[in-house]
Amino acid sequence: MIMENLKAKAFDLRKDVVNMIMEGKGGHIGGDMSVMEILMSLYFCQMNVTPENQDSPDRDRFVLSKGHSVEAYYAVLAAKGFLDIQDVIKKFSKFGSSYIGHPNNKLPGIEMNSGSLGHGLPVCVGMALAGKKDHRDYRVYTVMGDGELAEGSVWEGFMAGHQYKLDNLCAVIDRNRLQISGNTEDVMGHDDLGERIRSFGWHVIEVKNGNDIDALNKAFEEAKTVKGQPTAIIADTTKGYGSAVMENKANWHHKVPTQEEYQQIMADFEARKEAALNE
């Protein structure tokens, strides 16, 4: 799949997400939109994990620490061949469904259950440590939200990642600067987040446009070259990315579009997709 197509495909997957949320009558739509390119970069360009090798001990590992962005995760897993997107859209959040509103590791492709914030990084420290102990070359990735960084357990994970020199570990922060109550800096500020994480002994890469797959790929490639310390990628993203209806609006953290909004959002996605194809 060529890069230009991926950029356009991001808007098709966004459509899947919105359809899921319309059918399921709920979902964390804003964060789904901000994290989409991060997940696509990982699953389509970076990670060695496919439906065929999902049980291999050498596969790369991923944990969606910001588990509430599960709709974007389902869309990407489906596009990667782990799930059937029509089945997901039909059953998402419905009675008795396996497609829960947070990751469910009974589904193919999902390593760990998540949903409560602040768990992914410490779990990934364990996964990366196991890789080191077993002399395996796999890499371990997690994606956290920026609001999530108020959880103390995240910083326990940062400490341990440095202590054990886990250069096979890469944590991505979906820095969309909004959480359910408003601006992250008003709720619990991070000041200079890069400096803060650097002071924990991590290599930090700041990606100015975290919704640009090329820029994300470049950062992930750089992370692979770092030795002796883990890498954090701070990806400056736009919450609700893809449609002016949602972009940078805190009240779209968890919201179901009205029919009118739905039509507008889908039209916006289509326009962005066309623009990506004509780039």
Partner: protein, 309 residues
């Protein structure tokens, strides 16, 4: 008097098995000394992980290791392990179904005069309420050994609580009947049933001797498997007796007494008296002094049984 606490029995098994199995990992949160696991850290530094004083990290890292094929034993004082990292136990271990054994050391009121912050009188209730979490309180060093060996054979989450101090043997090296998730009936009597777990089993057994001298015949059950509770053995033990006493080093709610009452109440209703710690910070003292104060000793159990006769 036995000098080997149950926590040391755990270390001995892991030291032996780690020679053959490189996937066995021990994790501590600055607790290797209190967990009696310092010899393991010295003997197998590559299979030992120190997380510092960070119980949440301890449990999540264990889950990550387990997800990649390791067999982690996460040992930390039961008071912190069962509450500070409760959510990690719930989500990363039980809900995600990772092969992690949580070892709650110095459980119950082992830390005595250190106070309520260091007591774990809620851990049975808390851990038992988590789906897919098993809860075990072995009664002595021999049973502890058997339990850890059995846990190494399966790949499911478990919480094991042991105390800090050596306890008198209930079993012997030659005679330690053990079947996973099957309680042991230690004595059989027709008058009263005493169901105990963990380090309350030995006093329950001693109480039965006192009662025997008074002409009261007691059945004593070692319910080391609090969850899944062995209801079959429990119902067999309480059949025909006039009353049931449960004994546990735990708060009066949500522990062994609650679980036994549920089963007995549903299947063969009769009086169930729960001997436990109070629903309050316990009085200051050594664990022995505290047990004596609340009647959680052989004499206290026997006296309670006589009241019921």
């Amino acid at each position: 008097m036995n000098k080997i606490p149950n926590r040391q029995a755990i270390c001995n098994v892991l030291l032996e098995k780690a020679k053959e199995d490189k996937d066995i990992m021990v994790l501590c949160s600055d607790s290797r000394g209190s967990a009696s696991l310092a010899p393991f850290a010295e003997a197998f530094p590559d299979q030992f992980v120190e997380t510092g004083i960070a119980e949440q990290n301890l449990v999540s890292i264990s889950a990550g290791l387990a997800k990649c094929g390791k067999k982690p034993f996460a040992a930390s004082p039961a008071c912190f392990l069962s509450t500070r990292s409760y959510e990690q136990a719930k989500i990363d271990v039980a809900y995600s179904n990772t092969n992690v054994t949580l070892i709650g050391i110095s459980g119950g009121i082992s830390y005595g005069a250190l106070g309520m912050s260091h007591h774990s009188a809620q851990d049975i209730a808390a851990m038992s309420a988590i789906p897919n979490m098993r809860v075990y309180l072995p009664s002595d060093r021999h049973q502890t050994k058997c339990l850890i060996e059995a846990l190494l054979q399966d790949e499911k989450p478990a919480y094991v609580r042991v105390g800090r101090n050596p306890v008198e043997d209930v079993y012997s090296e030659e005679n330690c009947p053990f079947q996973m998730d099957k309680a042991n009936i230690l004595t059989e009597g027709k008058d009263i049933a005493i169901v105990a777990c963990g380090e309350m089993v030995r006093p329950a057994l001693d109480a039965a001797k006192i009662l025997e001298e008074k002409g009261v015949h007691a059945t004593v059950v070692d319910m080391y498997c609090v969850k899944p509770l062995d209801t079959e053995t429990l119902l067999k033990a309480v059949e025909g007796v006039s009353a049931v006493i449960t004994v546990e080093e735990h708060a009066p709610f949500g522990g062994l007494g609650s679980m036994v009452s549920q089963v007995v109440g549903a299947k063969c209703p009769k009086e169930v008296i729960n001997m436990a710690l109070p629903d309050a910070p316990v009085i200051t003292g050594t664990s022995r002094e505290v047990f004596d104060y609340y009647g959680l000793n052989a004499e206290g159990i026997a006296a309670k049984a006589m009241e019921l006769m």
